[in-house]
Symmetry: C2
Subunit: 311 residues, 2 copies
């Protein structure tokens, strides 16, 4: 499977591609973890106009994002609640306003992968075109002032290589973790214009574990020293890793396969060279977490304005 | 790191072990993803009496479990709501009644691993002893009637080997996935006495992905045939795999390291040899999901009764 048949040319209609000949044979497609399906929901009517999808780990944050974006786009109805489209399940939460969809994905590669399989099928069934998808998340920084936003250049694994290993039928298949470089540049430009907080372009390390997998000294288990930790994180820094999180590699791989224009925008909650615990106040951490929302909100607003002017 | 220093003898007090010399140096320990901490909460007062911990993916299910167990143990207060102890975060949900703690863990190895690191530290800080932990979950069955409950004998990986690979400082460390065999037998015996549904002892395959990782034909991507799928699942069956889920291996490995008596009890929602989609009615799936709760509830009740008689 590759993505050579995926049209990336933004000037024509670019569909959301599934690569699965078996799907056509399904009478109905149940998107179980969304509590949605082709037999029970009119997906083209519900989602056909989606142009931007924002995803993040926390359901609360994805709800607050849709409220923020509604206000930014002046599409808010002060009387309206934004209903959770996936109210029939507690696995993920989903909100929509105009062309923007906001979806939570939980923590870690397996959790976001389930969501992305069903999201890609949803966008495909809804006949969406020219969709941009951005992960807005939190991360640990390496040598950056806490609160710095990192736009990911390349997602790398725990050995600093830009690859994602997918196990299929018990065999490991290596997938590319390229993200859309022009989108990353546009987001960086947006942040310069905003001028509200520091934003950098850099590599993002994606791990399968938060404690031992990220060289933390404060997990239930730790068999290495502070020096071992510093050595590892400094090697990461030499490989231009700016931050560490737990979803970017499979996000990049799956979005590339399906022809989605994709970016990862994460704020750093602490400098891992200086510590491991997230002990900043709730208020400080909360204000940091709003930064990717503000940046992506501003990007979407700019894009929609440009599109309207073009018409 | 190994667990040779862990006392498993149930006749004396068996503590919950952390293996991390750095923890003593922490002034406060912030259990970030629980929104709890040693500096902000009296963990021994809140959790010191915990003897049974039940964990499962879905926060709704773990809330319904605590309501069920409260009624089973005649500890319910009809006027009481069971408050979410982790109300300050949306990462996990936690409920408690008497000696029973119920905690959600989200989907996949990374998500349950974060929860277990913080849970093991919580139980350690609270000076809990003789704790039994049981994962109650859902799974895909192999050659079993849907609704069958599987008590895991051994958790195996996608190549059917009983191991869990943990990446530490970029290097892979292999950990043992042994579960407590006597606990598994006791649960099986309990199910026989209940005689409400079929329960079997067998191996459980733990994968990093729900779609391609479990040979499903209905994901966004699929590069193999129905025959390839059947071959793979039949090889799994030959290796005595009865069901497939996404958390048991790291659960077994971490519980073993910390000296927790651990079991995995999952209901099968479908027979994967016959299909991939979860298309049974909501009511049928819901009734299946109650079976591990009923079994574990009955086990806990029996244990507490035996303990009370012994006093």
């Amino acid at each position: 499977m590759d993505s050579k048949d995926v049209k990336q040319d933004a000037s024509c209609c670019s569909p959301v591609c599934v690569h699965n000949p078996h799907l056509d044979a399904l009478k109905d497609d149940v998107l179980y973890h969304f509590s949605l399906g082709t037999g029970t929901h009119d997906l083209p009517a519900m989602f056909g106009d989606v142009k931007f999808v924002c995803v993040g780990g926390s359901p609360w944050r994805m709800k607050s994002f849709i409220e923020y974006i509604a206000a930014e786009l002046s599409m808010e109805d002060p009387k309206a609640e934004y209903p959770n489209i996936c109210a029939g399940t507690d696995r993920y939460a989903m909100y929509k306003v105009g062309p923007v969809l906001s979806v939570s994905h939980g923590m870690g590669i397996p959790s976001i992968a389930i969501m992305l399989h069903e999201l890609i099928k949803l966008l495909h069934h809804a006949h969406c075109t020219d969709v941009t998808i951005i992960r807005i998340g939190t991360s640990g920084g390496i040598g950056l002032e806490p609160g710095t936003v990192v736009v990911t250049k390349q997602s790398v694994d725990a050995t600093f290589l830009p690859k994602f290993e997918q196990v299929i039928l018990g065999k490991t298949v290596v997938r590319n973790t390229d993200l859309d470089q022009s989108l990353a540049e546009e987001l960086l430009q947006c942040s310069k214009e905003l001028s509200q907080f520091e934003t950098v372009l850099g590599n993002t390390m994606c791990t399968l574990d938060f404690y031992e997998g990220q060289a933390r000294l404060d997990g239930a288990f730790c068999s290495y020293t502070e020096n071992d930790k510093q050595d590892y994180l400094n090697k990461a820094k030499e490989a231009r890793v700016c931050n560490i999180e737990m979803e970017s590699s499979v996000f990049a791989a799956m979005c590339k396969l399906s022809g989605l224009r994709a970016a990862v925008v994460c704020v750093t909650l602490l400098d891992r060279l200086k510590g491991d615990q997230l002990s900043s106040s709730h208020e400080v951490l909360h204000s940091y977490q709003q930064r990717p929302q503000i940046l992506v909100g501003s990007y979407i607003k700019k894009q929609l304005k440009a599109k309207a002017a073009h018409k």
